[in-house]
């Protein structure tokens, strides 16, 4: 029975991926991509990866989905993605098809006959008492492999700077100040504190159960995005030093702490066991705050790129 459910889910994921890429219009493509992401999240829940499922649903399907929909305002002008010169010629399509088919056969043989390396489950479990947290995924993210996580917090900040680079200067967009629906504002006012509360809860939960900084960050970021959509200028009205502090706190504090303990003779990101639990919670909180801030700023930038923005942003040069 369960094998059937899994097979169904796997086939559905493949089907949605194909349909998404063959969709005749871009909005359809986006919504099928949503469905693909949610199917993957279900698959991950089935595979016992609850953290990943939350992260996928929240970041990859949720946040990126919002950006994709916002981008549709620019791209949906040409409604159809179909025949009008979109597809390459038949010959090159055939070549690509043949190439991908060969690739597929080799890939399937490879994943089918992959030897069982055994993974690191036992090792991760054995060292859990030394990590300062009780949830293995959090232990990997914030202790065993905290270097990766640190760089990743940085990548979100770099993505924001990269976004600024497309316009040639740093720019925190104001909300589109057309009359925001009063009902929407009320609902947002109601939802934002709830989101922040649930985010904090998930963050705290990360010590023992699925949850943690990234999941919390997306909820907080969602709060920021809602406020932006409701007409509250979250970043644009903030003092520059404060918003830079918000954006860099996670990445910076992580590093600062690492340097501090390194000065004491340890390695970078090596925490003494007695304080590890607390330090990890502080690092996670600041990281979540910074990621949330960056996600909000990324969305605000996207929203401000739109031609219908009240304050249309024109690039510095060109």
């Amino acid at each position: 029975m369960s094998l059937w459910i899994d097979s169904l889910l796997a086939v559905l994921a493949v089907f949605l991926a194909v349909r998404c890429l063959l969709a005749p219009t871009l909005p359809q493509c986006v919504f099928l991509f949503f469905a693909f992401g949610l199917t993957l999240a279900l698959a991950w829940a089935r595979l016992g990866a609850v953290d990943v499922a939350i992260a996928e649903a929240a970041i990859a399907a949720g946040f990126l989905g919002v950006l994709l929909i916002d981008a549709l305002r620019d791209f949906s002008r040409s409604r159809s993605t179909g025949e009008g010169g979109d597809r390459p010629s038949r010959v090159s399509q055939g070549l690509v098809g043949a190439g991908v088919l060969v690739f597929l056969v080799v890939a399937i043989e490879a994943v089918w006959r992959v030897p069982n390396g055994g993974g690191l489950t036992a090792l991760a479990a054995d060292n859990l008492p030394q990590s300062g947290v009780d949830h293995p995924v959090t232990a990997v993210l914030l202790n065993y492999r905290s270097y990766d996580t640190w760089l990743e917090v940085g990548v979100v900040l770099m993505a924001l700077l990269a976004l600024f680079a497309t316009g040639g200067r740093e720019y925190f967009c104001r909300p589109v100040v057309r009359a925001v629906d009063p009902l929407l504002r009320q609902v947002i006012l109601l939802f934002t504190p709830v989101l922040f509360l649930v985010g904090a809860f998930l963050l705290y939960l990360g010590k023992t159960e699925p949850g943690g900084a990234f999941q919390a960050a997306v909820l907080w970021g969602a709060g920021g995005i809602l406020l932006h959509l409701g007409g509250w200028p979250v970043f644009a009205s903030m003092a520059p030093w404060l918003r830079h502090l918000l954006l860099t706190a996670g990445f910076g504090f992580f590093l600062l702490l690492g340097f501090l303990f390194m000065a004491g003779g340890g390695a970078l990101f090596e925490y003494p066991l007695a304080q590890a639990g607390l330090l990890i919670l502080v690092v996670e909180t600041l990281a979540a705050l910074s990621i949330a801030a960056a996600l909000t700023a990324i969305f605000a930038y996207f929203n401000g790129m739109s031609a219908e923005s009240a304050e249309p942003f024109t690039p510095a040069s060109s």
């Binding site: 994921a13 998404c20 890429l21 595979l47 791209f75 979109d86 597809r87 890939a107 994943v111 492999r145």
Partner: protein
Amino acid sequence: METYQIYSLASAVIFAVGLAGIFTTRLFFKKIIATKIMGGGVFLCFVSFAERDALAFADPVPHAMVITGIVVAVSAAAFALALARRIQQLTGQETFPVEEE
């Protein structure tokens, strides 16, 4: 056939679908989505191995890597989308010029 094998096979197929998607469309927007689909395939591969290596809990290392990977991939995709939008706004182009392909 084990549960993980269903998903690892699917991961190979999804990766190939994404790969094909990059070549078969010239629209920026769809190329970006195609790379995301490739990423979905790769992450599914990681997580399927994590399930295979489960003891009391599934292998946490691939889970952590996939969470990291998802955030990194979304950051890159957001940047790509912003570039595509800016190009569209400056030039009206939604596809790469043909002669350079």
